[in-house]
Symmetry: C2
DNA sequence: ACCTGAACACCGTTCAAGT
DNA sequence: ACCTGAACACCGTTCAAGT
């Protein structure tokens, strides 16, 4: 347990490196991952960093900014590593897996559409649409549909992150399915009831992928030069 | 200004009818619509109902329950009126318009997937898929894709509800677009930058509808008896 | 039974005071 | 300049005390 006096070990408090924005963000991610969204407070963060709550404000402007930075950090990592040759579908599934692994990320992404993390996803998805053969004048629509799909699924996942960790994933699904089933029975919701039964068996990653394939299949129908009928604004006819 | 002694007008405090769950939910919706999500607190709600904050807990268990009930009330209304003969596409657009009119609804719907409001949407969407010609074994996937699309768009809308009311919608869009454009320039995000330019011109209702059409077009490709290639799990090939 | 409103245990954020 | 931690202005929720 001897203290070696290496490099700049002269300052008494030098054991902990000076506070920095990136260090704070890193610590925030650790708390979010380990203990969930509600556990991240400026007080808990300050305690982990062995400092006062006010000190954090010298490096990040607000909790919103902190959460945005945390989300951007994670998304940037997968976008950077996935970029080389992955196609849209692969990228979408990687995004799903990221949100699955860090469940607080779901609600954070849904919180503000123009935050850096969302922009990175939009860009990464959009860049691959030309390669996928989506005509230029439909790329924005397809990109927004894919991103909505991510954000929608993200919200679902974020919600299931709120239950205590003791309840396993399949246990949770079982509970939700039971809840759905009972409510559906009482309220006469046959479709929901049938879907709840399936939900208990299949996993939602598969369902997410199916949704991606639906959107891409829809996009593929656009590559034909001229579809016979434009979508009419009046859907009243049978 | 004479007081007529009608019916049960004997009690001094009878002017305001007794507190009830539905009355509380109605008042909550009024506050949410008029002043936004952050303005709804048990204190502000109690003040509007001329009672104490604690009294509300005799009728609703928590703020979560209150928000779920408020969302369910609005969704139930459009599902009930839209039900007769509207197709999926129309229903989706009505859901979009509802979320557009009550922006707090977006974040509330994303909050918990098994809340009543979401169940009602799933059911209403699901019921119409058979009519739309979606094969039975794909209905859950299509329904979940459509609901993810709603929830994704809902999140976007909810986020734009956080800005002060003074800023008009187009003004906000302009600001967001500017922000997107500047960040995109700095960070080299060409697709986002191009999309931001279009975002300033076109409205997002149209983009939402385009997404719905994409999913439905994708679903239409499933109605063929047997597609030549099943989606392969390995997308690594070019 | 229903209501009241002070009290409790928290938040995010600010700011005088220290180093 | 950076940090500290008490203080401020809130929350949701509880609960003794009233009617």
């Amino acid at each position: 347990m001897r203290e070696t006096e290496s490099e700049g070990e002269r300052h008494p408090g030098r054991r902990r490196e000076a506070l920095s924005a990136s260090g704070i963000v890193r610590a925030a991610i650790e708390i979010l991952d380990a203990e969930g969204e509600d556990a991240l407070t400026f007080r808990s963060l300050a305690k982990r960093l062995s400092t006062g709550a006010g000190a954090i404000y010298h490096h990040v402007a607000s909790k919103d900014e902190l959460l945005e930075a945390a989300a951007a950090e994670l998304v940037a990592a997968i976008v950077a590593t996935a970029t080389p040759d992955a196609d849209v579908r692969t990228l979408m599934l990687e995004a799903f897996d990221l949100i699955d692994a860090h469940r607080w990320l779901g609600s954070q992404l849904a919180r503000a559409p123009w935050q850096a993390a969302v922009l990175l996803v939009v860009e990464a998805v959009g860049e691959r649409l030309a390669v996928a053969g989506v005509p230029e004048d439909h790329q924005f629509d397809v990109a927004s549909a894919l991103v909505h799909h991510i954000l929608g699924a993200a919200g679902q996942h974020a919600a299931s992150a709120r239950v205590p960790l003791a309840v396993g994933r399949s246990g949770l699904l079982k509970t939700v399915a039971d809840d759905w089933t009972s409510r559906a029975r009482r309220d006469q919701l046959p479709f929901v009831r049938a879907m709840a039964r399936q939900l208990a068996d299949h996993d939602d990653r598969r369902q997410f992928a199916a949704g991606v394939d639906l959107i891409l299949a829809g996009a593929a129908t656009l590559t034909r030069p001229a579809p016979p009928h434009a979508p009419t604004p009046r859907p009243t006819g049978s």
